[in-house]
């Protein structure tokens, strides 16, 4: 493939969206392009967008699955706004996505899936390839179905299986267009299909044929290169998705605590991957139990914590609701427990594969009784690792359940992650009580954490449970004053966490006209839009929260310096409401969005610009 003579144009920043039917393998195409691009040394961010149905009726708009990747020669924080390139494998994919494309952008269309029947399935009255729909774009039409069939001539595979290779043909074309090496994917295919030589051969041939096709047929007017990022911080990197980062963080966190991780869980979109990843960690001593329901998931984890492990449960919003009573049990028994909530659109089943941040108040307050639980929120896939470790630290240092909030955008998004060095990891090794001298179940340390004695320890037999206990003896107590003391102690313990967490860093000019407060996965869009306005000289600053409860020290001092404060959230203003109740002296304006889509940088920039203009 070295005979390539096409002129290569340098591009610093490209966004591609792969779109096709759920069965077209677009997620795989996207992740392969992503992994290769990471190896090339670009910064990148991705956004998979797929339907809740595994296979909606073929060719329909409901069944369109998309994968967007934004890659660049500079640091980037979002998966891109308007794509430069759209790959549309069928009419439905084209119709749903073309409006997002940049004017003048490239549309690569698989004309092999544009028959009358295909158009009908996609509910197209006229053919968008000929009716002027795409007049603003550079349209490249190719019968990818036919090209794939030709490339695989002589294969032992049936036609259906041959056509399933069309995504690798497409991937090859995109590799050529953006000057990516095909070797990483060839290697992946060898590992994946090593034992199925016919599939290995077919996909390899499709990939290579697609790549050569770009060169031979001059479909594109030249090709592009996006050079690697030059000023990357030295270190070791890997490409990481949010759910993967959480799985690793939890396993590492348990290890740093000197405990075995025990995950009791129940499959739920979009959190299931964490259970799947951790199920692979058997040789790390990680125990995973896929239980009969969400409640059993958290209850086995609580039982394991009682037995001296680090109990973990993973879920999404509806599952968190089911776990509510058991979370209260973990609060009153003061056992360490990490509850991961990968948020999705709600209420109820809502939008299972879409993003939302509307479980914040449920996480902080959604239990019967006074049941404080610390809440940590991660902002991007790489941050998810640190937050998972932090959740483990808080859980064991304070003997408390902790909720780690992620969301669908972080869960399935990918980005390069600079790996921490082993020396930089925090240490919080647990010391179990073994000495009966002075032991009671609720004897506390300086952080108000109760002593942890695990079953099997002689002379420390004790009983815990959901009934209120006497602060001194640990026996059941209905004493009114004791209940007040215990409630206050549990709250004071959780509030004490503030002494071990940093004040979020403020980025921006002194005394800004506008302070933007973010939490969770709005990080990238806020950072991109605020930095763009800062480059214009606007007096705008930002801070991003990680600890949502308790709130860190030092916030009012930052808030007081700003003329106006705004909190963009994918809910109806839950963090703003929280901040308003904690700091009633400030006015927190809100920007809400509950469309199952993340904020885009231009959208936020427009909001902020409007506020700045009003303020000027």
């Amino acid at each position: 493939m070295s005979s390539d003579t096409s002129e290569i144009t340098r591009q610093d920043d490209v966004t591609i969206r792969f779109a096709g039917d759920s069965g077209d393998g677009m997620q795989l195409t996207g992740t392969q392009f992503t992994d290769t691009t990471a190896r090339v040394g670009n910064d990148l961010a991705t956004f998979p967008d797929f339907p809740a149905e595994i296979r909606a009726p073929a060719g329909t708009r409901a069944g369109v699955s998309g994968y967007q990747i934004h890659f660049s020669s500079a640091d980037i924080y979002t998966p891109g706004d308007a794509p430069d390139v759209l790959v549309a494998m069928n009419p439905a994919a084209l119709i749903i996505n073309y409006k997002d494309l940049k004017p003048g952008g490239i549309v690569l269309v698989n004309t092999g899936s544009f028959t009358e029947k295909d158009l009908e399935r996609a509910d197209c009255k006229t053919n968008p390839l000929t009716d002027g729909t795409l007049s603003a774009f550079r349209v490249i039409q190719e019968d990818i179905n036919q090209r794939t069939i030709e490339a695989l001539a002589g294969t032992s595979l049936g036609k259906k299986d041959v056509l399933r290779c069309k995504n690798f043909f497409t991937l090859g074309m995109m590799y050529w267009l953006f000057s990516r090496p095909i070797e990483p994917t060839l290697q992946w295919l060898t590992e994946k299909f090593g034992k199925k030589p016919d599939l290995l051969d077919a996909n390899t041939r499709a990939l290579k044929a697609g790549y050569n096709h770009g060169e031979l047929l001059r479909l594109f007017q030249g090709r592009y290169d996006v050079p690697k990022v030059d000023n990357v911080e030295p270190g070791t990197y890997r490409n990481i998705m949010g759910n993967q980062a959480i799985a690793i963080g939890l396993a590492v966190g348990a290890d740093l605590a000197g405990l075995k991780a025990f995950l009791g869980s129940y499959p739920i979109t979009p959190a299931t991957d964490i259970l799947q990843y951790m199920s692979l960690m058997k040789n790390h001593g990680v125990i995973t139990c896929q239980m009969e329901d969400e409640i059993a998931g958290i209850c086995t984890a609580i039982g394991a914590s009682f037995a001296g492990h680090l109990g973990i449960t993973t879920t999404s919003g509806p599952g968190l609701a089911l776990k509510t009573e058991a979370m209260g049990l973990a609060v009153i028994t003061e056992l360490p427990l990490v509850i991961v909530n990968v948020q999705r659109g709600g209420p109820s089943t809502g939008l299972p594969t879409k993003v939302e941040q509307a479980d914040l108040l449920q996480s902080i307050f959604g239990r019967n009784g006074e049941a404080p639980i610390p809440v940590v929120a991660c902002s991007c896939p790489a941050d998810a690792f640190e937050c998972a470790v932090e959740a483990c630290r808080i859980a064991v240092e304070y003997m408390t359940p902790v909720i780690l909030l992620s969301d669908n955008y972080i869960a399935n998004g990918a980005e390069p992650w600079k790996l921490p060095t082993m020396e930089s990891l925090p240490h919080f090794e647990v010391k179990f009580v073994t000495d009966p001298e002075g032991y009671t179940p609720y004897v506390r340390d300086g952080k108000l954490a109760r002593a942890w004695a695990k079953p099997g320890t002689p002379e420390l037999m004790h009983r815990i449970g959901g009934l209120e206990k006497d602060a001194h003896t640990g026996n059941v107590s209905y004493d009114p004053d004791n209940h007040q003391i215990m409630c206050e102690t549990r709250l004071a313990k959780v509030m004490g966490i503030r002494d071990t967490i940093p004040t979020p860093t403020y980025f921006g000019p002194d005394a800004p006209d506008l302070l933007v407060i973010g939490w969770g996965s709005t990080y990238g869009a806020i950072r991109s839009s605020v930095e763009a306005l800062q480059r214009e000289g606007k007096r705008i600053g930002r801070l991003h929260m990680r600890h949502m409860y308790p709130l860190p020290h030092g916030l009012p001092e930052i808030f007081a310096s700003a003329r106006r404060i705004v909190v963009p959230e994918m809910n109806f203003g839950q963090a703003a409401r929280l901040l308003t109740s904690e700091f009633p002296q400030f006015k927190f304006e809100t920007i809400h969005k509950v469309q199952g889509k993340p904020f885009f940088a231009p959208e936020l920039k427009a909001h902020f610009r409007k506020i700045l203009e009003e303020t000027a």
């Binding site: 590492v252 025990f262 040789n283 001593g285 209850c299």
Partner: protein, 332 residues
């Protein structure tokens, strides 16, 4: 640890005053459990009592062992976590007909199918006691309670059938008024490796007094109850003159000499299930004892065997391996 000493039943009593109603069947059950634990010689620190919510679920507070009084219906799930985390512990689940078969029915069947090595004592009094007298999932149809003033229209579960259907490897029934029998059954449950499900007929003196008297009263029990003993002929009656004979998919009453031997260890759950059918026939005695006792791998063993075998194959994992995978790249 100090040298192992022979513990007595009283060593398993905590310092907490028991708060069950005077005359409650629970007193006799806890005394039997304490006696059995002393007899089998288990160390107190290695015993964990897990309960849900209900009168019976206060049980762990009265035991000088590790204990967890949890939330309604979830004892089996919490106990599963305890046992899988530390298989060296002897785990007991204390539950009732409401806790274990209604709100906790799901966890009950799933822990039985997984064969978690734990001993489940289901106190069956056919009533909700702690909420003061509402019908339970084992209350007979027609029972008048506060929520069924005109008689319950709900069909009840037979706890033994549920356990057998869920694949329980040990299923037994005993009753609070027969401490000797109860201790035998509980000792057999304790010795069983796997999920042991023991239904205890337990009389609630306040809200459902005499629920079982048609079978257990002194005046009728010889004719209305039959004790199953492994390898022994199934005989009953005041003079042990009657017997049960297995006849296809049914049992029939025959002279004692013709009685079949009872074998709870057969592979098929069929005979045990046929035995539970006696409960639906007013002309037949009610059976007590061990219905089923078979061996199959336990969840806790399987989990740890798998961890060991994968660890042997791949070598013990290090934290660094979780982070620094082969797909990393380095920037200088």
């Amino acid at each position: 640890m100090s040298e192992v000493q022979q513990l007595k039943a009283k060593d398993f009593k905590s310092n907490q005053e028991i708060r069950w109603c005077p005359g409650c069947g629970d007193y006799s059950i806890i005394a039997s459990v304490q006696a059995v634990l002393a007899d089998i010689g288990v160390a107190r620190e290695n015993v964990v009592m897990v309960s849900g919510i209900g009168c019976s679920s206060r049980f762990p507070y009265y035991m000088e062992t590790y204990g967890f009084h949890s939330i309604h219906g979830r004892a089996n799930a919490i106990a599963t976590g305890v046992k899988v985390a530390n298989p060296d512990l002897q785990v007991w689940v204390i539950t009732g007909d409401g806790d274990g078969l209604s709100i906790g029915g799901n966890h009950m069947i799933h822990s039985l199918r997984r064969n978690v090595d734990m001993k489940i004592i289901l106190f069956n009094n056919e009533i909700y006691g702690l909420t003061k007298g509402q019908y339970s999932p084992t209350s007979p149809q027609g029972l008048q309670t506060k929520t069924s003033p005109f008689g319950s229209v709900d069909a009840p579960f037979n706890p033994l059938q549920l356990a057998l259907g869920a694949g329980s490897t040990f299923v037994a029934r005993t009753l609070d008024t027969q401490p000797k029998h109860m201790k035998e059954v509980l000792a057999a449950a304790a010795a069983h490796k796997g999920s042991a499900f023991v239904e205890v007929w337990q009389n609630c003196v306040i809200f459902n007094d005499g629920a079982f008297k048609d079978w257990t009263d002194k005046t009728v029990r010889d004719e209305q109850m039959i004790y199953l003993n492994a390898g022994q002929p199934m005989v009953f009656g005041k003079d042990n003159d009657k017997g049960l004979k297995i006849d296809g998919f049914a049992l029939k009453v025959v002279p004692a000499a013709e009685a079949s031997n009872w074998d709870p260890t057969v592979d098929s759950a069929g005979p045990a299930f046929v035995m539970t059918q006696l409960d639906t026939d007013p002309s037949m005695p009610r059976p007590f004892g061990v219905f089923r006792s078979v061996v199959r791998p336990t969840l806790d063993d399987l989990v740890h065997e798998q961890i060991n075998s994968v660890t042997q194959k791949r070598g013990p994992g290090k934290v660094k391996d979780l982070l620094y995978t082969p797909d990393c790249w380095t920037v200088d």
